[in-house]
């Protein structure tokens, strides 16, 4: 699904990504963690075709983002820090607009389905401006899922979600994985999230310093600290 070779992204003098190699198969759940400024968002944005790589090879669903951006965008859903929703439109209008752009089949039905799934039906004719943060987040997720994407990229999706909402998101992700969707998400939240088998990548200063499958979470938080401390002391011993 995702193939990355020696990906470098520079912003002027600063290297946000300094040579990342990564392969992700379809149906995988991947957690991308790391300190702020590690390059997680940059990586996600490059996969979403919002940003061009400075050098290196990137393939998403077999396509090159610099050449076949539209093909890639057809198949992905992206959740950003910002909601990407239009404040001055209603929930339904927001979904309708994006459904049109993505050429979602059975548009009305799909929109109704998602509204129901995320408990937004009752507010569908209200302006997004009037929604709480949590509701906006839910609508944003619904928007990302409109075209039933094969790859879901979520940038800090647990941010601002209360524990129940976060659990619901986890269930959602589990269901999507079961359906063959690939999910790649970034998060800082390592404590107390329920156990799901996932592949964990640790990114620091533009380098991928850890790549393995982990299950439960207290060890994950500990492991994370360990790995980071090691990388900061420039310890080149592989874990």
């Amino acid at each position: 699904m995702i193939e990355i070779q020696n990906l470098v992204k520079s912003f002027g003098y600063r290297k946000a990504l300094a040579g990342v190699d990564l392969q992700v198969e379809a149906g995988e759940l991947v957690w991308l963690v790391g300190p702020n400024g590690a390059g997680k968002t940059t990586l996600l944005r490059i996969l979403a075709t919002l940003s061009r790589p400075t050098s290196g090879k990137v393939r998403v669903a077999g396509f090159d983002p610099t050449r076949d951006g539209i093909q890639i965008r057809r198949q992905i859903g992206f959740l950003s820090h910002r909601t990407l929703l239009y404040d001055d439109l209603t929930a339904e209008q927001n979904l309708d607009f994006y459904a049109r752009l993505y050429e979602v089949p059975n548009r009305q039905k799909r929109i109704a389905e998602l509204l129901r799934q995320y408990n937004l039906t009752i507010r569908k004719d209200d302006w997004v401006r009037t929604f709480s943060r949590g509701m906006q987040q839910r609508l944003a997720i619904a928007r990302a899922l409109l075209p039933k994407p094969r790859l879901l990229l979520l940038d800090e999706p647990y941010n601002g979600l209360d524990p129940l909402a976060a659990d619901t998101l986890d269930d959602e992700i589990a269901a999507l994985i079961a359906n063959g969707c690939t999910v790649l998400l970034t998060t800082h939240n390592l404590e107390g999230r329920n156990a799901m088998e996932k592949r964990t990548l640790i990114l620091n200063q533009g380098h991928l310093i850890y790549d393995n499958t982990t299950t439960t979470n207290s060890p994950l938080a500990q492991l994370y600290r360990q790995v980071l401390k090691k990388s900061l002391t420039k310890d080149t011993d592989p874990l």
Binding site: L50, S51, L85, Q93, R100, E103
Partner: protein
């Protein structure tokens, strides 16, 4: 989805949002009306002198009201980050541009619908003659096109609102000269045939702005 449908979806979305709040259009209307009033008072000319000044006053107003509209439209998009929503959709980048530009054009034309009669009354000139509206529309098309491109740039800078007129107006000089001259001559009774040169310049400018936007918008939008 066909290219034209994509553009239309974006335009419809912008117009719907604007109809909900009417923030931008009301600001533009009020500003434009005030501007014409101020020109009328400040210049305090009668008869022929007023006629000579009217086209300039009209276009100055269109430029500044247009700048106001362009700024607000882009700012709104940037607030919620929804320009990224468009960039994430499986549509051509240029379709995004044309959708936004067309939306901005419609806003400007809507303001002109009020502005032209007002100007005609205040300065006692025939702005509403069909031949006169022709260069006005052509000029507005050019301004909205290049303006949308520049607004997309300006909104990302530190001085945001100030940056747009600073960047845009020097670019729009040929457009302004041609538009004012054409409007002025036609209002004084010339025929479209006599102002042919200016009309051609306007059309060339419009085509040039569209070409530049088509070629460069992707570099503005994408990182």
């Amino acid at each position: 989805m066909s290219y034209l449908r994509q553009i239309w979806a974006i335009v419809k979305k912008d117009i719907t949002a604007e109809l909900h709040t009417r923030e931008t259009t009301s600001a533009m209307f009020v500003f434009a009306a005030l501007s014409m009033l101020i020109f009328s008072f400040a210049l305090d000319l009668q008869g022929r002198a007023a006629k000579a000044v009217a086209p300039g006053a009209l276009w100055t107003t269109i430029v500044f009201a247009g700048t106001l509209g362009l700024n607000r439209a882009m700012a709104r998009e940037q607030q919620t980050g929804s320009i990224e929503g468009l960039l994430l959709a499986p549509i051509d980048r240029t379709a995004i541009f044309f959708g936004k530009a067309l939306g901005n054009l419609i806003l400007m034309l809507a303001v002109e619908v009020i502005l032209l009669p007002l100007g005609s009354a205040l300065f006692n000139v025939a702005f509403l003659k069909p031949s006169v509206t022709f260069p006005i529309v052509l000029g507005t098309i050019g301004y909205a096109t290049i303006g949308t491109l520049i607004a997309a740039i300006a909104i990302n800078t530190r001085a945001r609102e100030v940056m747009l007129p600073l960047l845009l107006i020097p670019l729009a000089i040929p457009l302004l000269i041609a538009a004012v001259q054409a409007t002025g001559n036609l209002v004084q009774g010339a025929t479209l045939h006599t102002v042919n040169g200016w009309i051609q310049l306007l059309i060339i400018y419009d085509l040039l702005s569209i070409a530049i936007a088509l070629l460069t918008f992707q570099y503005v939008a994408e990182e």
